[in-house]
């Protein structure tokens, strides 16, 4: 007998198939309708509008990773907040527990956010968020010509 209901794993499979099809169809559609006029500029690797320099194996500054880590931390927190909010705001559960439910949920979430913020404060306090600015050293020229003379020339022209 063939099961008529789609199981939870079946839904995931459908989702995967759907997403692959979506990408393929979009590419196919754009290939069908777009004009085909390549030039050198268009054929370069797309890298957020920047010109690509060097190989992809080059080393990155460690600070990128720290910033990325902190970013992911808070992004995951946001994702976590959405399902929490629906559970937290469940009027029936709050009514059944005399508000205990709400208090418990909010204390839990504040603890969670507090720990995350503590991590951010740690990174901040330790100076991991400070970006090294390259120190600009003005060139010094040993010359007998006084500065005013240069200024006078600059003013004139």
């Amino acid at each position: 007998m063939i099961a008529t209901e789609v199981s939870a794993f079946g839904e995931i499979l459908l989702y995967i198939i759907g997403s692959v099809l979506f990408v393929l169809l979009t590419y196919f559609g754009s290939w069908l309708f777009r004009p085909h006029r390549p030039n050198e500029e268009k054929n370069t690797t797309y890298e957020s509008g920047e010109d690509t320099v060097g190989t992809a194996w080059g080393q990155f500054n460690m600070r990128f990773y720290i910033v990325a880590l902190l970013f992911i931390l808070f992004e995951v927190e946001i994702i976590f907040l959405f399902p929490w909010a629906t559970v937290f705001g469940d009027a029936q559960l709050i009514a059944e527990t005399d508000g205990m439910w709400g208090w418990f949920a909010i204390v839990e979430m504040f603890l969670f956010i507090f720990i995350l913020v503590l991590g951010l404060a740690y990174a901040w306090g330790k100076g991991f968020l400070n970006w090294d600015k390259p120190e600009v050293i003005p060139p010094k020229v040993d010359t007998k010509v006084p500065d005013q003379l240069y200024d006078a020339v600059n003013n004139r022209y």
């Binding site: 559970v87 469940d90 559960l93 059944e96 527990t97 205990m100 439910w101 418990f104 720990i115 503590l118 991590g119 404060a121 740690y122 901040w124 306090g125 330790k126």
Partner: protein
């Protein structure tokens, strides 16, 4: 959603009160990291001590309490587990003391040091209580992550290298663990070990897949126990991590993993007899290989800390031997063995640390002829080494004897060959162990130090402050005394 879930969670909060204390310590230390203290080591140490003692007191308060499963079957507590956690707390405090000495000598004043140590205690304590595969995994990861960081705390190239090796090894081990657990979840539909359906579904699962998944799932625990297929990292990590950290690694995570394993084995009964038999034989084989390979590898070492590292592998074999005996006697033997193992390893690392910081003694040869000047330390050394071997009159003897008796009883009642094999190999290994343990006191007392060596090491000698000398003496006395006392009165623990 059900209100009973909320009720269950709120009711189980007191179960984790001591752990909450350690968590609070970690958060406080995180805040303290940012504040520029004049004496950070002082702040970190005092906070750790206060909260560490608080943890132990709260744990004692839980003793004999009516604890059921908590947090929807995530954790459970009984007196056996509480005893394990008390042991972890004691080891943590002892390691704090050793660190205090080390930190002042090296002028190493980073708050993160204390933070990561507290995280190890939290991870260990959680692992002992775990009743759920997810919880076990999280606790093992907490233990591992802090351990990777702490390994690099000697801040030299070798330390960093060891930490990186440890990290790579641990990452692969934990990946395999998750993979195994996910297969188990696929087979049973639950992660809870206390759930009856977990074992029910396992009994009907195909044997080949089940064996594969179960082996992968316990890799995380075997990694923490440093049992044989997962031991290659110990040598570098124990040698290059700061010594109090190595002492902590050698004891706390292993004992935590041991108690977790004991908890799992207690839940086995619903499994079919053949499956149980297969698990016991597989683990017994790991135990056998661990104790033998650990001993043979320890024989060839030149550095004392490496020898202790491999000796801890062989001790892990004995701990696993206790795990696979499903009898009350093995439970007592396991608890006793774990406690004695913890105490004597702490003492051994404490002694090594004293000679390492004061005399720069790292290899066996560095210990040559020290007996003339440090006779009292030598007595301590002899006691600890004899106890590690498992000879009377030290508690190490009682510990090994109890394990052997448990194995023998189990063999007599079930006549399964693996118990007899373990017993025979255990006794043989004790003889092998004698060679490398006693080598240290031998070099200490009976070897003349070479003329050249003498000048070399005189030049390197660091004078340890008087106050610190006393700190060492008290610590070692506290660690060595139980080894003798428990030989005559083992009932104190049991």
């Amino acid at each position: 959603m059900d209100i009973s879930i909320l009720k269950n969670i709120i009711q189980s909060l007191p179960m984790v009160l001591p752990e909450a204390m350690v968590a609070a310590l970690i958060l406080l230390l995180t805040i303290a990291c940012i504040i520029p203290w004049k004496k950070p080591a002082m702040v970190g140490k005092s906070l750790s001590w206060i909260f560490g003692i608080g943890y132990i007191l709260l744990k004692i308060n839980q003793w004999n309490g009516q604890w059921d499963n908590g947090f929807l079957g995530m954790i459970s507590l009984d007196n056996y587990r509480i005893a394990g956690q008390l042991l972890l707390g004691g080891l943590y405090l002892f390691s704090l003391h050793l660190s205090a000495v080390e930190v002042q000598l090296k002028n190493e004043e980073r708050m993160e040091y204390w933070l990561l140590k507290a995280a190890i205690l939290l991870g260990g304590s959680a692992l002992v209580m775990s009743d759920n595969l997810l919880m076990i995994y999280l606790a093992v990861e907490l233990l591992s992550f802090s351990a990777y960081g702490l390994t690099a705390f000697s801040f030299n190239e070798k330390g960093n290298k060891a930490a990186l090796k440890y990290l790579l090894f641990g990452a692969i081990a934990s990946a395999l663990t998750v993979y195994g657990m996910s297969i188990l979840y696929g087979l049973t539909g639950t992660l809870s070990l206390t759930d009856g359906s977990f074992w029910m579904n396992l009994s009907t699962a195909p044997v080949s897949i089940l064996a594969f998944a179960a082996f992968l799932a316990v890799i995380g625990l075997l990694f923490k126990l440093t049992a044989v297929p997962l031991h290659p990292w110990v040598e570098d990590v124990y040698q290059n991590a700061p010594t109090p950290i190595a002492a902590l690694f050698a004891t706390l995570p292993k004992i935590a993993a041991f108690f977790c394993f004991m908890g799992i084995m207690q839940l086995l009964p619903p499994l079919s007899a053949e499956a149980k038999q297969a698990i016991i034989v597989a683990l017994g084989f790991i135990a056998l290989v661990s104790m033998t390979a650990g001993n043979l590898l320890a024989l060839g070492q030149k550095e004392v800390k490496k020898m202790l590292a491999y000796s801890s592998v062989s001790h892990a074999g004995f701990l696993i031997a206790c795990i696979i005996v499903p009898a009350k006697s093995a439970w007592d033997a396991g608890l006793f063995y774990a406690a004695i193992y913890g105490i004597m390893n702490m003492a051994a690392f404490g002694l090594v640390q004293y000679f390492e910081t004061g005399k720069k003694a790292i290899t066996y040869e560095d210990f040559n002829g020290m007996g003339k000047k440090h006779a009292l330390w030598g007595i301590g050394l002899v006691i600890v080494m004899i106890s590690l071997t498992g000879l009377p009159p030290t508690a190490g003897f009682n510990a090994k004897l109890m394990v052997f008796l448990a194995l023998w009883e189990q063999y007599e009642t079930t006549s399964t060959t693996i118990y007899l094999l373990l017993l025979v190999f255990g006794v043989l290994n004790t003889v092998i162990a004698l060679f490398y343990y006693i080598r240290l006191p031998y070099h200490f007392y009976f070897q003349e130090e070479g003329e050249e060596d003498y000048h070399f090491y005189r030049r390197r000698e660091v004078v340890i402050e008087n106050r610190l000398q006393w700190a060492y003496r008290i610590a070692l006395f506290v660690a060595i005394l139980p080894l003798i006392v428990l030989f005559f009165a083992p009932q104190i623990i049991l």
